[in-house]
Each structure stands twice: as C-alpha cells, then as structure tokens.
Amino acid sequence: MAVATPPAKGPPIVAAPSASAQRWRRWLIAAAFLGPAAVFLVVWIVYPTISTIIRSFFDQDGSNFVGLDNYKELFTSQTLQTAIRNNAIWVAVVPALVTAIGLIFAVLTERVRWSVAFKTAVFMPMAISLFAAGVIWHIMYFKDPGLGAVNAAIGKVHDKVNPPGVLSDALPSSPGLVGSASRGLTLARPVPAGGVAPMGLVGIPPGDVPSGAKQAVLPKRAPGAVSGVVWRDFRPGGGTPGRVEQGELGLPGVNVTIRDASGKSVGSATTADDGTFSVSGLSPGLYRTGISAKTFAQPFQGVDWLGPTLINAAVMSAYIWVWAGFAMVVIAAGLAALPRDVLEAARTDGANEWQVFRRVTVPLLAPVLTVVVITMVINVLKVFDIVLSVAPASTQDDANVIALALWRTAFSGVNDFGLGSAIATFLFLLVVPVLLLNIRRFRREA
C-alpha cells in the first residue's frame, strides 16, 4: 500500500521523520526549560507531601505503624487542643479585622492628597519580618508602665481619672480607727461638730511618708467644724499609740471624709503638711470621720498583656498592625478601579456618603474583599514567627497555634516526627479548601 502511492505521499514520507525529529527536539527543549523546576517541585514539595502523610501514621521514630493514634493525640492532647482553639480564634477574628481596617483606611485615604505618606506608614510593617514585628510589640507590651509604651499610655489616662493616693498601705495605730486601707478607715466613735479627731496610722515605711511632711500637730477645737490630724503615730523608740508626740510626722495629702448620721457625705478635706485638716460649716451633731480609700489608691500597675489571659489578643493585634497595610493597598487598588459614574450616579440620586459606601462601594468591592479575607485566612492558619517573638516563654503554651505546635513537637525538645507529621497533615487539610478557592480565582484570571 505504501509502495502503491509513492507520488502522492512522496513529500510527507520524506518530511515525516524530520517532523517527528523536530517534535522530539521541541520536547527536549521544553524538558530542558522545565527540568530544574520539575526537580525542585518533586524533591521539595511532591515527595515530602506524600512522605509526611505516610509518616503521620507511624510512631515517634517511624519504626511502628500506629494507625490513627497520632490524630487521636492531635485531638485529645491539652497543648494541641489549645493550639487548635487559638488558631480557630485567629481565623475568626484576624481576617475580618484586617479587612475592615484596610477598607476603612482605603476609603478614608481615597480623597486625601497626601495619602501616599499615610499609606507608606501603614504599609511599612509589611517589609519587616513577622519575627521582628513581634520583638517590636514585645517591647511595646511590657507590663511596667515605666517600660511598656502601651501601658504608659493607658496609665496616663488611668491616673487622670483615678489619681493614685499618697500612701500605698497603712494600719490604724489604735482600735478606735476601724476598717482597712483598701476600704477606707473610719473612727468608730462619731465626732461632734467642734470636736477634734486624731487619726494615727502605723505600718508606713519611712520611704513611703509623703514628701514635705512636717511635725504632726493636734489642732485646736473650732466651733462648727470637725478638725483633726492624720499622722504617722510612730517615732524612733515607739512612742504612745494614739498621742501626737514630738518626732512624729503629719501625713500631708490624705483625703478625709465627713459623713452625717445617715451616711451622707457632708464634706471632705485634704490634710496639710503637719497632717491637720478641718471641715467647717457643720450644723451641731455627730459626724462619722474617716480616711477615704482614695488615699491608698494604687497607681496604675500595668495591664499584663503578655500574661496568659491577654497574650492572644496581644499577638493578634501585632499581626493586624503588620497586615492592615496589605489589605489597605489591595482594597485601594480595587476602589480606584470602581466605575466612577456608578458612584456619581448614586450621589446624584441623593444618596449620602454612608449610603454610597454601604450600598454601592462595598457590594462592588466584594470580590476584592473576598480575596483579602481568603489570603488572610491562609496566612493566619500558618501563623508562626510572631507568636514566638511576642509571647514570652512563660505564656507560649497559652498563645500556641498549629504551626508553632508542629515546630515544637517535631523540632524543639521531643522530636516526635510521627505526631509532627500528623499536625502538618492537619494544617495541610485546613489550608487546601481555602487555597482551592483562591486558585479558582487564579485560573479565571489566567
């Protein structure tokens, strides 16, 4: 047959080997271009993925098949439970917040001329490693308001609203004065108008005596007034309790309150340098006299951001600080691409700015917002470095997340590759559905 039709098939027969040779050549060239990538993808991604999945069914050193034991451990162990729970909180909170903040920033900067400066400031943390960002926030979150900027700022406000007292603690020097520093001290016997109320305190270390304190003085009686003295009822050698003696210091700045029989406050005073006070203009009667708890109000101690209860909030806020700029930039690009005429049309129709934002901008931005949320969910599932650097060793268990638990299980301490592989596989299974959404978007674009 082939011989019967040489004239017609002549040229193809000659060309055929060269065409196939050319095809081979083309394939070879393609293989040469793809080869390096193929080696990397197979050796570093495909093989390890399969290997990790298989490894997750074996024990710590890989010698025994243990079925699903590692996965059982994953869902029963206390530490891993905390990690999974924390990661769930991360996924629920962080992507939404990052997107919301990014949206607000993008909308606010849209019509501001110098928005580039603002955007650069907010975007800048993206360049910093999450690890270094964690170090930055660790320093910001120090508990001592004298060291940690966050607590220093809160302390400024706190001490304005709730000024610290002049004393930290004291005890009454005689049983006539009852109560405690935290609840306030009151003289057991009410003082009549025109009477004198000496209120002695002990248990005040010399260093705690307010500056400017002078020798205590027992004031004279004054008609229509309750006067008295608050003093440190102690002098070298002891002295007699309840009596103002030479060498005993008055306590300035103490807040004294006077209440009538019904318990209603009728006056207050602050003691002078010699400890004396006087509340005048009182009608005849008996008055409950005491030292208010304000005197002993503690200065702001600092919120324990890096302690067990707040550590997750602390790490998350640092993470949001880093990623808000990402959301802002992506959303701003989406905003810039919105059809202007639609927005203008809404405005012309009489919609106010909020309505335009809520009913037009946000729905039109929905695809962009989805991209940001999905990207953030993937990032948050894999969060690792920032937890290590924000959380001190003492609260790393409380701040644990899946990726950190994986690293600690497999590489820090126990080296349990079986359980570690199970955690990695679990993380993989969590990431897959989210990323598949993202890839569908990629393919649409491609």
């Binding site: 394939w27 393609a30 271009f33 793809l34 390096p36 990538a37 993808l41 050796v43 570093w44 991604i45 495909v46 093989y47 390890p48 290997s51 920033f105 606010l108 400066a117 603002f118 650069t120 400031a121 907010v122 800048m124 993206m126 360049a127 910093i128 490693s129 999450l130 270094a132 170090v135 930055i136 926030w137 320093i139 910001m140 940690g148 900027a149 220093a152 930039v329 992506v330 690009a333 405005r347 700015e353 993937i378 470095d385 650097s389 001190p392 060793a393 990726a403 690293w407 590489f411 590759f417 592989s421 990695a424 993989f428 990431v431 897959v432 598949l436 978007r441 990629f442 393919r443 674009e445």
Partner: protein, 297 residues
C-alpha cells in the same frame, strides 16, 4: 410636557445636593485628615520605639521607657550598634542572611522564568495539565515538607548549610513564581518571538534576549517579594539550620533572656528590619504590583 415637569423638578434638588455635598465633603475632610495623621503616626510609633530602645544605654533601656529619650536626648548612644557590629555571632548571621536572601531570590527566579517560558511559549503534550498541577502545588504549606526534608538533608549531609536553605526557599517559591511569570510572558507580543525564530535564534537565545528583558517588570516584583520573604524567614532556618544562623535565628536564640539583653536584641532587630525596609521603600511600586498580581504566601 408631562415628562419635562418631573425632569425639571428633579434638576433642582440635584443642584442643591451638589453644593451641600461639596460643603459636607469640605467639612468632612478636616477631621478625616486629622484622624489619618494620628493613625499614621500611631502606626509608626512601635518601630520608632524599637529604634529608640536600641540607642539607649543598656541600664537605661532596662529601667526606663524609650520615650524618655525624647526629653533626655543626652541618653542617645550608638554604643549598642558598635557592640553588635563587633559581635561576630551577629555579623556572621547578617552575612548568612544576605546570602540566603540573594540566593533565595536569584535561583527561584531563574528556574521559574525558564519553566514559565516553557508553559507560555513552547508546545509539548500535557502542557496545560502540568501547569494546573504546578498551580495546585500552591496549596502545600511550607510546613508540610519540614520533617521529610530535615531527614533528607541529614541523609545527604547537607543539613545546616546555607545552600540547603536556599534550595528549600527556591522550591516553595516556584509555584507562585511560575504562575505569575507565565501569565506575564504570555502577554508578550507573539510577533517578537516569531521574528526571532525566523532569524534563526535558538529557544535559549529567545528566552535570554527577548523574554527576560521584556519580563523585567514582573521579575522585579517577584524579586522584591522573594528578597523580603527569604530575608525575613525564621521557620526554615530555625528548623533546617543549627550553626547556619540568619539574623532572625540569631535574635531568636537571644530571646529566652528577654529584658536582660535588650541592648543586643533591639539594635539587632532594627538592623534586621532596616535593610528590607530600604529595599521596600526603594521599590515600593514593584512590591505593590506584585501584591496586586495575587499574593498567596
């Protein structure tokens, strides 16, 4: 006539709305600007705080907040920086980081660009399926390979080397890089390639002389990303290195005694972030472009 009346009726509120909206916008702008200034400054405060901490004498940094340096400028000292640049552990870790970042940027881009060219412009069977498979590898988190690669590196005797870290970063950069570059390369005008082919240029020549120069914007975005990513990595180096410590790992090993050695942690952290920051500020445009092309890392 019946039609024009409502139209005229509409026209009046439109004009009124415009002027009032303009007024509103003008009024609304000032508080927004103030808010933006406050938020912008607040956003910078933590980084400035780290810098101020890093230029305080150690005993002061341990007992006073960094903001005190504003009222006491005399506290300012470069001593901590002098100390870390004389600390061989820190300087050698900076060199390691630099190598990882350069290698981890150049190698994946070369490998990805070649593959992307094949996916975009060469014909071979199963091309589209292979490309989908490469994109599918995006779902594999970096953490998935740590344990097998740890064992593999130990087996091959390349554990704890700079090159082994670069190889790891290269592999995990590929799916996204190939995707990004392929989509960019495919937009290069076909005529340019065909002209080169007719002139008898080999595929390698076309790749080097036509594709790479024209693909430069995409390559630049990718390079910035990859540089920042590898420079800032902690996890891979922490897991697959021991004495091969990039700066992040070197600081990490100091963290256990946080507080007592803040004079080392603060300046080292600041140096570690200053370089990516400069790169970022210099090439912000490319960075944003890359980001908008779809980041999944």
């Amino acid at each position: 006539m019946a039609v024009t009346t409502p139209a005229e009726g509409l026209a009046v509120p439109v004009v009124r709305e415009r002027t009032s909206a303009k007024m509103l916008r003008w009024l609304a702008k000032t508080p927004v600007q103030i808010l933006l200034i406050v938020v912008g400054v607040l956003w910078l405060v933590p980084t400035i705080g780290l810098f101020f901490t890093s230029v305080m004498p150690p005993d002061v940094a341990n007992s006073q907040g960094w903001w005190n340096i504003i009222s006491h400028p005399s506290l300012f000292t470069w001593e901590n920086y002098r100390a870390i640049f004389n600390n061989s552990a820190i300087t050698s870790s900076l060199v390691t980081t630099t190598w990882i970042a350069i290698g981890g940027t150049v190698l994946p881009i070369v490998v990805a660009a070649m593959a992307a060219y094949a996916f975009a412009w060469l014909e071979f069977p199963g091309r589209d399926w292979l490309f989908v498979f490469v994109i599918a590898l995006l779902v594999v988190p970096l953490q998935m390979a740590l344990i097998p690669i740890f064992s593999l590196y130990n087996h091959l005797g390349i554990f704890d080397t700079t090159i082994s870290l670069i190889l790891y970063h290269t592999a995990f950069a590929l799916p996204f890089s190939i995707f990004l570059l392929r989509n960019f390369f495919i937009g290069i005008p076909k005529e340019l390639l065909e002209a080169a082919r007719i002139d008898g240029a080999s595929e390698f020549r076309i790749f080097a002389r036509v594709i790479l120069p024209l693909g430069l914007p995409a390559i630049a975005s990718l390079a910035i990303f990859q540089f920042l990513w590898t420079w800032n990595d902690l996890l891979v180096a922490l897991t697959l290195g021991r004495d091969t410590q990039p700066i992040t790992v070197a600081i990490f090993s100091q963290l256990r005694q946080f507080g007592s050695n803040i004079d080392l942690i603060a300046p080292a952290s600041f140096v570690s972030l200053a370089i990516p920051l400069v790169v970022f500020l210099a090439f912000q445009r490319y960075f944003v472009q890359g980001l908008l092309a779809g980041s999944v890392k």
